[in-house]
């Protein structure tokens, strides 16, 4: 599918810019042009398709489904974790979502299964991983994220942490009388909303993607394959841990990190370590923590961060062990 893109990149680099075949600069520039075009085409298609499909899974509907399964049942946790993949979630919506779930009588543990799955299993990352690394990697990523969300949700439910939710959330539950019903969007509205969303998202993340590919291109041209194996290969047990720590202060979109992942693995970083790095960058972010602090007391927020952090570490080690 991307052969014409490769031909275009070859023609630009070797015929128009007259760089030598096999030179470092030539390789790097060729990689940069090819990957930039390829990834933007993939992103455009993926985001548009996913946003359109997602318009059928609103959080309001999710809440309805979960509220029908009252109680800390396994089904509830599984459902919550699955819905976490498909329902739209951005850090700005985390608080109203959380309150909305608790208000509807959904148990805290089930709510957390959802809250953990939503950032851990990023649907754009999932499809890009499939496109660039194949089915096996995408499936392990999906399953490990879901299992972590389910298990940790059950754990939080058992620990009886309700008292660490800010008190007003439960007060709202008692005085809640607000409600609204907007008409279902028409097919035309779904399509045009999906397009508007895709355009806005690409406008917001393109710079992360270009920087990610740029760093990838640099590694591609100047870092010989296997160089980093000594430090970040599967034999180093601390590598995953260090990768997660480095990823926390960094913030980017999954789409911006995946081109980097493929180059890091070529340079010798173990797949699990590279993936843990990506998940840490995308799932653990300071802005989201500040927003969640509005509804969670520090202790519960710390539990949440701890669980997501351990979940990422687990995924990293799992991948390094399996591959």
């Amino acid at each position: 599918m991307f052969t014409p893109v490769q031909q275009l990149a070859d023609w630009l680099v070797y015929s128009v810019f007259k760089l030598q075949t096999g030179s470092k600069a030539g390789d790097a520039l060729n990689f940069f042009i090819f990957d930039t075009i390829k990834i933007f085409i993939l992103l455009l298609i993926i985001i548009y398709a996913i946003t359109f499909i997602r318009s059928f899974f609103s959080p309001e509907k999710t809440r309805e489904i979960l509220a029908r399964n009252k109680g800390n049942t396994l089904i509830g946790h599984v459902l919550a974790a699955l819905l976490g993949i498909v329902t739209p979630f951005c850090s700005c919506s985390a608080v109203p979502l959380f309150i909305g779930f608790v208000e509807a009588g959904i148990p805290l543990g089930v709510t957390f299964s959802y809250l953990i799955a939503a950032p851990m299993v990023n649907e754009i990352a999932l499809v890009l991983l499939y496109g660039m690394f194949g089915l096996k990697i995408a499936v392990i990523y999906l399953i490990s994220g879901e299992v972590i969300a389910i298990v940790c949700g059950i754990l939080i439910g058992r620990l009886k942490l309700e008292k660490y939710v800010e008190g007003y959330v439960y007060e709202l539950q008692r005085s809640n009388n607000a409600g609204f019903s907007l008409p279902e969007p028409t097919m035309k509205e779904r399509l045009s909303d999906a397009w508007n969303f895709t355009r806005d998202l690409l406008k917001k993340i393109w710079i992360y993607v270009v920087v990610g590919i740029g760093v990838g291109a640099w590694i591609h041209g100047w870092v010989p394959a296997g160089t980093l194996a000594e430090y970040a290969g599967a034999d180093n047990p601390f590598a995953v841990f260090v990768a997660v720590l480095i990823g926390i202060p960094l913030y980017s979109n999954a789409a911006g990190v995946i081109p980097l992942i493929s180059e890091l693995t070529r340079a010798g970083v173990a797949m699990g370590t590279a993936l843990a790095f990506m998940m840490s960058i995308t799932a653990l972010s300071l802005p989201e923590m500040i927003i969640l602090r509005q509804v969670l007391k520090p202790k519960l927020l710390a539990v949440f961060i701890g669980i997501v952090g351990c979940g990422i570490l687990f995924t990293g080690y799992l991948f390094n062990y399996l591959l």
């Binding site: 951005c90 700005c92 608080v95 109203p96 909305g100 509005q294």
Partner: protein, 80 residues
């Protein structure tokens, strides 16, 4: 008329605020436009996706930035 923009000061909410101000000026509604970033109040409307628009106490849009035509339609509808 009173128009509330519900959101947590993310870039999308600011963008929506500007769109609403523009629509208000073009229609000469002279509505009072208020930004709401208080979690309690937002949840009080039952809204789970931000940014959202509330016109005279009624939720008219959630989780997206409607086009300027759509925003004008909402304001026109609320006028009647």
């Amino acid at each position: 008329m009173e128009i509330k923009i519900l959101g947590y000061g993310c870039s999308k909410c600011d963008q929506l605020y500007k769109e609403v101000v523009k629509a208000d000026q073009e229609l000469q509604t002279q509505a009072e436009i208020i930004k709401v970033d208080n979690a309690k109040e937002i949840a009080g409307y039952g809204v789970m996706r931000t940014p959202a628009i509330v016109i005279d106490g009624l939720v008219t849009s959630v989780g997206k930035i409607p086009t300027s035509t759509e925003i004008k339609k909402m304001i026109e509808a609320a006028k009647q």
